[in-house]
C-alpha cells in the first residue's frame, strides 16, 4: 500500500459502509478516487445528468434533494450519496448541493460495482431502504434461538391418549405407566373440525379435552368421584393448543397468557405431544417465567413492588440475549398483565367476590403486547349490564383503586390522560361502552378522537373476556364502514411526524432545522402504531398487536404490495432502537426515557433509523390520500 493513500483509506475505513471492507478493497478504492472541491452553494449533482461515480464526503456538508426540490437528506463527513442513481439508470435522481465548502472523493462506477459484488454488507447498505431494514430486522431474529426453535423439538414422546368412555382409574394407570403428567381425551367423530383427525386405520377421532395430575387432585379426589367415572365427565373442555411449528417462545407466551401448564401440541389437527412448562424452563432458564411465577406468589402489594428491579433485570437480560422487539414487547406485557391480575386477585380477596361479573380491560401498549420498560397504565372496567351504580359502584371503584395504586407502586405510573378504571367514565357497563364506541365512530371529530384513540387498542386482562371480544367485534364491523371516522383518525395520526434523520450531532427535522435530541416514541414508534391502527380498523382486523395488524393488512388491497413488510421492518427497527436506548439508560443507572441523543447513536444505526423514518414518513403521506376527509357541504 502506498503510504500517500493511507490518508484516504484510513478516513474511509472509519465510516459505514466502508468500515466493514477488507483492506484489499479499501486499497482498490483509494487507488482510484478522484477529488474535487465545491464551494458553499455550488451544485455537485444536477438532476438528470449522467452519473458515473459514487460521491464520498471527505469534509464539509451536502444537501440532497428529491427531484421536486424537497429536502431529502443532509449529509456530513464520511457520508455517501449518488448510489441510488448508480444502482439504476445512472441519471441523477437526487440532486446535491454543497452547503459548506466541501471536498468530495469520487469513486468510479467500476469500483462501486466491484464493491457491490464482493462485499454483501456494502451491497446491502447501498440498496434502497427495504433491504437494509430487512437485514437489520432479520439479523436480530436469527440470532435468537428461542424465537426460531420450534416447539416440536422439545417433544420427546407421543401423548398418552384415551377414549372418552375410559374410566378414571384406567386413565390414571395409563398415565402412571407412561410417567406422564397429562393425558388427552379423544372421542369418535368429527363434529369439531378444529381437533378432528384420522388414525392410521382411517378412523375419525377428535380431541375433546386434557386431563392433568392437577385435575385428578382437584376434580376427582377432592370431589370424591368414583374411580369408575368416565374421563369425559371431568375433562376440562377449555382446550388450549399450539401447532408443532410454533416457536418455543410462542408456546411459553400461550401458557403464560392462559395460565396453563400443559399444552397439547398439534400437527394440523393431530395431537403429537404435550409440553409442560418445565420443559420450556429447562430449555430456556433465563426467561421471564420465574418472574411471572413470582408475581403470582406475592401476598402483598409491597411484595409486588419489590419485584420492580427484577422486571428491569429481566428486560436487560432479554435485550442482551438479542431478543427482538416482539419478544421484549410481549414479555413485558405479560409481566404487566400478571401484576394486574395478581392485584385483582388481592382486591377480590379484600373486597369479596364481585357483585356482578366484570372484565378488566387493558388499553394502549399492554393491549397491543408492545409494552416497554417506560410505561404508564391504561385500563378500564367493563361491567355486566346488570350493574347498578347505586349498589355496585362503590365496590368497583374500590377495586379499581387498589389495582391502580398497586400498579403505580410497581412502576406503572398513573395515566396522565386519566384512562384508568378509577375514572367513572371508564368504569361502565358493556352497553354504555358499546355506546361510546358507536358514538366515536359515528360522530368523529379529530379533537374528540385525540383522547379516545387509545381505546381502539383493547384487550381483556382478567374476568369476562367476552365483554372485550364483543367490543372488538363491534369495532371490526363498524369501523370499515365509517369513512369520516377513519379520516379523523388519519388526521390525528399525522400530528406526530418523524424527523428527516441525523446530521452530525443533531436531529434534523423535515424542514432542515436542528434539534439536540429526539423522543423516539413520540416521533417514531407511536406515529407508526397510529398509522397501523387506522389501516387495521379499515380492514376490520381484530388483531391488537401492530405486527399482527400489519399481517392482516397485507392480505388486503389497502397498501401497495410489499408495503406492510416494509412497515414491519421499520417498526421493528424503531422499537429495537428504543429498547436498546432504554437498556443503555438502565445499565448506566439513569432513569430510562424515550429521548435519544444523536451522539449515542452508532453510525450504522443512524442510517437504518433514517430509512425507518423515511418509510414512516412516506406511509403517513399515503394516509392522507387513502382516508380523505369527505368533502364538506358548502353553501354553493
Amino acid at each position: 500500500m502506498d503510504v500517500e493513500l493511507l490518508e484516504i483509506r484510513q478516513h474511509m475505513g472509519r465510516f459505514p459502509p466502508f468500515d466493514g471492507l477488507s483492506d484489499d478493497l479499501l486499497d482498490a478504492i483509494a487507488e482510484q478516487v478522484e477529488v474535487s472541491y465545491f464551494k458553499t452553494g455550488s451544485h455537485i449533482l444536477v438532476l438528470n445528468e449522467m452519473l458515473e461515480e459514487l460521491c464520498y464526503i471527505r469534509s464539509g456538508a451536502v444537501e440532497v434533494y428529491r427531484s421536486q426540490g424537497e429536502l431529502y437528506n443532509r449529509l456530513g463527513e464520511g457520508d455517501i450519496f449518488g448510489h441510488f442513481s448508480l444502482l439504476r439508470n445512472h441519471k441523477v435522481r437526487f440532486p446535491a448541493q454543497a452547503i459548506e465548502d466541501t471536498l468530495i472523493y469520487f469513486i468510479p462506477k467500476a469500483v462501486f460495482q466491484r464493491l457491490c459484488e464482493e462485499d454483501d454488507h456494502f451491497a446491502d447498505f447501498v440498496e434502497l431502504e427495504r433491504p437494509r431494514l430487512e437485514t437489520a430486522a432479520e439479523q436480530q431474529k436469527k440470532s435468537n434461538e428461542m424465537m426460531v426453535t420450534r416447539i416440536r423439538k422439545l417433544l420427546t414422546r407421543y401423548p398418552v391418549m384415551v377414549e372418552a368412555s375410559t374410566s378414571l382409574q384406567l386413565a390414571a394407570q395409563q398415565m402412571s405407566e407412561a410417567q406422564a403428567s397429562a393425558l388427552l381425551v379423544l372421542k369418535e367423530g368429527s363434529d369439531n373440525p378444529r381437533y378432528s383427525f384420522k388414525d392410521s386405520e382411517g378412523q375419525a377421532w377428535q380431541m375433546c379435552g386434557i386431563l392433568t395430575d392437577h385435575d385428578f387432585r382437584t376434580r376427582v379426589v377432592a370431589e370424591g368421584l368414583s374411580s369408575q367415572t368416565p374421563v369425559s365427565e371431568v375433562v376440562s373442555s377449555r382446550l388450549i393448543t399450539i401447532q408443532s411449528d410454533a416457536s418455543v417462545y410462542e408456546a411459553m407466551l400461550t401458557m403464560l397468557r392462559s395460565n396453563v401448564h400443559h399444552l397439547p401440541v398439534l400437527y394440523r389437527q393431530r395431537p403429537v405431544g404435550v409440553v409442560h412448562l418445565s420443559d420450556i424452563i429447562r430449555y430456556e432458564t433465563h426467561s421471564g417465567l420465574y418472574l411471572v411465577t413470582n408475581i403470582f406468589n406475592q401476598p402483598s402489594i409491597q411484595g409486588l413492588a419489590r419485584l420492580a428491579p427484577d422486571v428491569r433485570a429481566a428486560f436487560v437480560r432479554m435485550v442482551q440475549e438479542d431478543a427482538n422487539s416482539q419478544m421484549v414487547g410481549s414479555a413485558l406485557s405479560t409481566i404487566g398483565r400478571s401484576f394486574t391480575r395478581r392485584l385483582l386477585e388481592m382486591a377480590e380477596e379484600e373486597l369479596g367476590p364481585p357483585p356482578v361479573p366484570y372484565c378488566f380491560m387493558v388499553n394502549g401498549s399492554m393491549a397491543r403486547n408492545e409494552q416497554s420498560i417506560v410505561t404508564d397504565q391504561d385500563n378500564a372496567l367493563i361491567l355486566s349490564d346488570d350493574f347498578d351504580p347505586e349498589q355496585h359502584d362503590d365496590y368497583f371503584y374500590a377495586l379499581a383503586k387498589i389495582v391502580s395504586d398497586g400498579l403505580d407502586a410497581c412502576g406503572y405510573t398513573y395515566c396522565k390522560g386519566d384512562v384508568m378504571a378509577t375514572n367513572s367514565q371508564w368504569r361502565q357497563p358493556l352497553s354504555v361502552w358499546k355506546g361510546y364506541f358507536l358514538d366515536w365512530m359515528a360522530n368523529p371529530t379529530p379533537e374528540r378522537l385525540l383522547h379516545s384513540s387509545i381505546f381502539f387498542d383493547l384487550d381483556s386482562c382478567y374476568g369476562e373476556d367476552i365483554y372485550v371480544e364483543i367490543l372488538q367485534d363491534l369495532i371490526a364491523q363498524t369501523a370499515p364502514q365509517s369513512p369520516l371516522f377513519l379520516a379523523a383518525m388519519a388526521r390525528n395520526a399525522l400530528n406526530r411526524t418523524p424527523p428527516l434523520g441525523f446530521f452530525r450531532t443533531f436531529v434534523m427535522e423535515q424542514d432542515g432545522k436542528h434539534n439536540n435530541s429526539i423522543n423516539l416514541k413520540r416521533r417514531g414508534t407511536a406515529p407508526m402504531v397510529d398509522l397501523v391502527r387506522i389501516h387495521a380498523l379499515a380492514c376490520g382486523s381484530k388483531a391488537q398487536n401492530s405486527f399482527q395488524r400489519l399481517n392482516d393488512i397485507s392480505k388486503t388491497q389497502l397498501l401497495a404490495n410489499g408495503m406492510s413488510d416494509k412497515l414491519s421492518y421499520a417498526f421493528e427497527f424503531l422499537c429495537m432502537s428504543r429498547v436498546r436506548h432504554h437498556m443503555i439508560d438502565l445499565q448506566e443507572d439513569r432513569l430510562p426515557d424515550n429521548n435519544i441523543e444523536p451522539e449515542n447513536v452508532a453510525d450504522s444505526e443512524r442510517h437504518t433509523l433514517k430509512d425507518a423514518f423515511q418509510v414512516l414518513s412516506n406511509a403517513q403521506k399515503f394516509l392522507k390520500y387513502r382516508y380523505p376527509m369527505p368533502a364538506q357541504r358548502s353553501g354553493r
Partner: protein
C-alpha cells in the same frame, strides 16, 4: 521562510517565446521534447488548463548544498484531481541526509540507498510535466531545485511557468490594504503555509511532508482558491508566474 536565500526573481512576460527558444537550443532530447510541447495560451480560461500538482521533499532549503529526496505529482483540472494517474519517486540525493530531515520526511537511509539517481527518472518526469501547467505551493523550492538538479545532470536547466498557490494566498493576505494595516498595527501576518491556507477553505488536515500527499493537498487548495476568489473563466495569465 527563514533560511531561504534571496533569489533572482523570475518574471517572464513571454513564456511561449522563452520555451520555443529553449527548444531550439536544447541539447538533451528529453528537454527538447519538453519545451516543444506547447503550453496553453495565456488567455486560456483556467477551467480548460490541464495542470499537474508537483511537490518535492529535499534534504534542506538551499539547492546548492541540498538535494531532492522525493517527488510527487498529481495531474488535475479545475474539475477533477486524477489520483489514479499520480506518480511518486524516491530518489538518491547523493548528498548526506541529516537526521532532522529523516524524521521530517519519514524517508529512511535504506529507502534512499535503494533509490535511483534522479537521472534515471528524469525523462519520465519531464514527459509527465510536458503540456501541463505545474502547480506548486511555494515555487522558490521546486523551481530552483529542479533547475539545479537537471543542470547538474544534463548541462542545461529547466525553467517553466508555474502556478504558486502560496503566492495566490500572499496576494490575498499579505498584499491587501487590510494586510498592510494589520502589519502596521504589529499583528502577526496571516500564515500562508500549506496547512494553514487549506484550513481557511475548510479543507481537511492531511498528514504533511510527503511529496505526493502535499501535491494532492496543493491541487485541492488551488481548486478551492479558484472557486472562492476567481472564476472558471479567469485567464491563465492572471494566475501563473
Amino acid at each position: 521562510m527563514y533560511g531561504i536565500r534571496p533569489r533572482q526573481k523570475i518574471t517572464q512576460t513571454d513564456w511561449a517565446g522563452y520555451m520555443a527558444q529553449r527548444a531550439r537550443r536544447a541539447g538533451s532530447q528529453a528537454i527538447q521534447q519538453f519545451y516543444d510541447t506547447p503550453l496553453p495560451d495565456p488567455e486560456t480560461p483556467i477551467s480548460e488548463v490541464p495542470m499537474v500538482a508537483l511537490d518535492m521533499e529535499t534534504t534542506g532549503l538551499d539547492e546548492r548544498r541540498h538535494a531532492i529526496v522525493s517527488i510527487g505529482i498529481v495531474p488535475f483540472t479545475l474539475h477533477r484531481i486524477k489520483l489514479a494517474e499520480r506518480r511518486y519517486w524516491v530518489v538518491n540525493p547523493s548528498r548526506p541526509l541529516d537526521e532532522a530531515s529523516i524524521t521530517y520526511h519519514h524517508i529512511t537511509h535504506s529507502e534512499i540507498a535503494q533509490a535511483p539517481d534522479l537521472e534515471a527518472i528524469l525523462d519520465e518526469l519531464l514527459v509527465q510535466l510536458a503540456g501541463h501547467l505545474v502547480v506548486v505551493h511555494f515555487r522558490n523550492i521546486e523551481r530552483p531545485f529542479l533547475d539545479a538538479a537537471v543542470k547538474a545532470r544534463r548541462g542545461e536547466g529547466v525553467l517553466f511557468p508555474m502556478i504558486d498557490t502560496m503566492s495566490l494566498e500572499a496576494r490575498l493576505h499579505r498584499q491587501t490594504l487590510w494586510a498592510r494595516f494589520r502589519r502596521w498595527l504589529g499583528r502577526p501576518p496571516v500564515s500562508i503555509r500549506l496547512h494553514a491556507s487549506r484550513e481557511r477553505y475548510g479543507l481537511p488536515a492531511y498528514q504533511g511532508h510527503h511529496a505526493l500527499v502535499d501535491a494532492l493537498a496543493t491541487a485541492e487548495l488551488l481548486q478551492a482558491q479558484i472557486a472562492t476568489h476567481y472564476r472558471p473563466d479567469t485567464p491563465l495569465k492572471d494566475i501563473w508566474c
